[in-house]
Amino acid sequence: MPITIRYMAALRDRMGKSEDVMELPSGITDSDALTAHLQDLDPAAHALAHPSIRLILNDAIAPRPSPIRSGDTLAFCPPFTGG
């Protein structure tokens, strides 16, 4: 079952796409490892590793790193700027 990776707001512009759907490579079990993998695929993904980036995992705000598994939806979020 693939993992869905979403790029929100400014990160969507940076990545040039709103999401990726991919099979989770073996050995990747948390969001930090996935972030490193995405950087291997696309240098633009270095923005995902910035300490200010927040995660939403399966419709809940989640800490970094968070465990991930096949079937998850993981969203990378720039700092929130509401209000």
């Binding site: 929100m8 809940a60 705000i61 929130f80 700027t81 209000g83």
Partner: protein, 157 residues
């Protein structure tokens, strides 16, 4: 009686009407406090656009309102946030609280507006006549949210 009202919508916010619903509605409340945030005129700004993460946003706002209700013994807590495109002068957020005393209502409103800026997944994009850019988070917003959480932590200690 306590209640929480959370709304995230593309519809225009009628702050006056929302405040009217709270004013005089509860004889046990001596304080009704509110904050209305609106799109500010800035050089070159044509419109502001708010994006959010549906469901997660509402849950985050609900959690903020629940914390405020517990902390300041609120009777009512209201957060209405608009998303989508807004013109200068339009209301983008309305926050209100009712409580027996003014200090509780005022502090609760300060807490809710400061927390939602950094803890609910909204993103602002500025449209100008020359193009668009995303608003970057400000240290002052983070510091304002930390003020409240530090206060609560010290009270718990």
């Amino acid at each position: 009686m306590t209640g929480i009202s959370i709304t995230v919508s593309h519809e225009k916010i009628r702050a006056g009407a929302l405040l009217d619903q709270l004013t005089g509605a509860d004889p046990e409340c001596g304080g009704v406090a509110s904050f209305t945030g609106q799109v500010r005129l800035e050089p070159g700004l044509v419109a502001l656009e708010l994006e959010h993460y549906p469901a997660v946003t509402e849950n985050a706002l609900q959690a903020i309102a629940e914390t405020a209700t517990r902390q300041w013994s609120l009777h009512q807590a209201v957060i209405h946030h608009r998303v989508g495109r807004m013109e200068i002068g339009e209301t983008l957020v309305f926050v209100a609280a009712t409580a027996p005393h003014r200090r509780e209502a005022l502090d609760a409103v300060g807490y809710m507006i400061d927390l939602l800026k950094t803890e609910a997944p909204f993103w602002k994009q500025v449209h100008t006549k020359d193009g668009s850019h995303w608003v970057e988070a400000r240290d002052t917003d983070r510091e304002a949210a930390n003020y409240w959480t530090d206060q609560m932590t010290s009270e718990d200690a």
